[in-house]
């Protein structure tokens, strides 16, 4: 695929999210942890959403997750016409936070997509700066 032909929405990092997106570019899923109360959270921000401490650190997550919920979209968003129907999923990361993603490396069907199935992160480069974290079944390597 030509990267220049990518027609889907492209994230634009902010100062608070740059570390996350730079991590994705390197193939690392970066999360944040509060150094005061230990709470792990996502999306990134400059303080802990649990205790409001401004002392937070980033770390590389395991990349392991479970399928929390999903829909299979039959009305593709602009740029997604070739994929429909495709699953839009929310995964539960091993470290606690949840994130929206797509499930790759398996059929986009209710039979193939079982809730709580184990997943692992994989990164899809879409521009020179941005790689999107997506998830695939653990046994689909």
């Amino acid at each position: 695929m030509e990267l220049t032909e990518y027609r889907k929405p492209i994230p634009k990092p902010t100062p608070e999210t740059r570390d996350f997106w730079e991590g994705c570019k390197r193939g690392e899923l970066r999360l944040q942890r509060c150094t005061v109360c230990g709470h792990v959270f996502f999306p990134p921000r400059g303080h802990c959403p649990k205790c409001a401490a401004r002392s937070v650190e980033s770390f590389t997550a395991s990349g392991r997750a479970k399928l929390y919920s999903y829909i299979i979209n039959h009305r593709p968003a602009p740029g997604f016409e070739q994929e429909a129907p495709y699953a839009i999923a929310v995964v539960q990361l091993e470290e606690g936070p949840r994130m929206m993603t797509n499930i790759v490396g398996c059929p986009q069907t209710p039979e193939a997509l079982q809730l709580d199935m184990p997943l692992e992160v994989t990164f899809e480069p879409i521009t020179d700066e941005i790689s999107l974290p997506k998830f695939r079944p653990v046994d689909a390597r």
Binding site: K12, P13, R75, I88, P110
Partner: protein, 380 residues
């Protein structure tokens, strides 16, 4: 707020409803406002408080010729109007204004004079949801459904029954967009939109609007209409992104808002004669019934399928036909409020006998916000 201290004296929808390509969004605000003012014998000059969503209160005030001493532009989606009612009651009680107009107008279907929906690439949604291909509410609001089904055993047939029962109510309402009866098979055979949600489990997309006029309870008796008093109110918000909702089987905003409203009203669930739960999709009444405490966790699907909310049932729900069958402009909350007022005035097309207390519960965004208004026709 103080129970029954404020009343709704004017209430009306736009003259037309459904497909109105000859009117812009701001004109729909005005059409609804002028109808609600005529309903209670007022003109824009009598209004000193203004609240609206979908347009700036500056725009609506100027368009109608109103010079307010209080404005509220709370815009958190479809339940904004329930919040406006709550805020207006507080403002009237505090003496910030005396006569409040709340307006809604939306060219949801025709898109005349309406801003485009979309997320900036630097916004949280633009970075962490949009890249994965959601296409409006049908692909986001529906994300919790499979998790709820797995946790509680809700079946696709039970979910379909929500749409079937609401069509029964709509069949009695001449202004409802869809009135022909449907079956569970019709729902399950309708086009798949976002598995497991089918077309007939999604709300309509229409043009229209509505408006309300509120005054203190002392002044309410001077108006030609039957006053509808505000008994209890609640509001809350949770997350701007559905992916960050705390629990996909229950809405925190629903629970907080509903509990506050029932506490303020000083009533129990058995006191409720009539219920409106904003139904953008078929699972919303299920979440609402449980999070408001009408039934236990995981019980709402069976409760609806058993007929408790249908015409003649013990808890009449979404008696105008709801967003699924009556109308849904985009921010439907105003229409839920209008139906609660009609039921308490005794003027609803599908009138609930001896209706004294109505609970009107709204959602904003994709479970992002919520507000609850409890209304009564019993005098202070």
């Amino acid at each position: 707020m103080k129970r029954k201290s404020v009343a709704i004296v004017g209430a009306a929808e736009t003259t037309e409803l459904g497909v109105i390509p000859h009117m812009s969004q701001i004109q729909l605000h005005a059409d609804a406002a002028l109808n609600a003012l005529a309903d209670c014998g007022l003109t824009p000059k009598d209004i000193d408080g203004l609240a609206c969503a979908g347009a700036s209160p500056v725009e609506v005030a100027w368009y109608l010729g109103i010079t307010p001493t209080w404005v509220d532009g709370t815009a958190v989606g479809g339940c904004s109007f329930m919040m406006h009612v709550r805020h207006a009651a507080a403002a009237i009680n505090e003496g910030l204004c005396s006569t409040v107009l709340i307006t809604h107008g939306e060219s949801g279907r025709s898109g005349i004079g309406r801003a485009r929906f979309g997320f900036a690439p630097q916004s949280l949604q633009g970075q962490f949801e949009a890249p994965y291909g959601p296409f409006g509410p049908p692909t986001l609001f529906t994300l919790p459904v499979l998790r709820y089904m797995k946790e509680y055993g809700l079946t696709e047939e039970q979910l379909a029954m929500v749409a079937v029962v609401q069509r029964e109510w709509a069949s009695m309402n001449p202004r409802a967009m869809f009135r022909d009866p449907i079956t569970v098979e019709d729902v399950l055979n309708s086009r798949m939109i976002a598995y497991p949600i089918r077309l007939l489990e999604c709300c309509l997309v229409t043009d229209g609007g509505g408006a309300l006029v509120l005054v203190s309870a002392e002044r309410a008796k001077d108006f030609p209409t039957k006053p509808v008093y505000i008994l209890g109110t609640g509001e809350s918000v949770e997350s701007p992104m559905i992916s960050q909702m705390e629990d996909f089987t229950t809405s925190k905003a629903f629970r907080v808002s509903g509990k506050k409203a029932f506490e303020e009203a000083g009533i129990t669930h058995d006191d409720v004669d009539h219920l409106m739960i904003y139904d953008a999709f078929a699972h919303l009444p299920i979440f609402g019934l449980e999070d408001l405490g009408f039934v236990g966790r995981g019980e709402a699907g069976a409760f609806i399928a058993e007929g408790n909310t249908r015409p003649g049932g013990k808890l009449p729900l979404n008696t105008n036909g709801g967003g699924l069958s009556y109308t849904h402009t985009g921010m439907y909350g105003m229409f839920a409020l209008q139906e609660s007022v009609r039921q308490l005035r005794g003027t609803a097309p599908a009138q609930v006998p001896n209706c004294r207390i109505s609970v009107c519960h709204g959602v904003g965004g994709m479970f992002a916000a919520s507000a609850t208004i409890i209304l009564t026709n019993e005098e202070p």
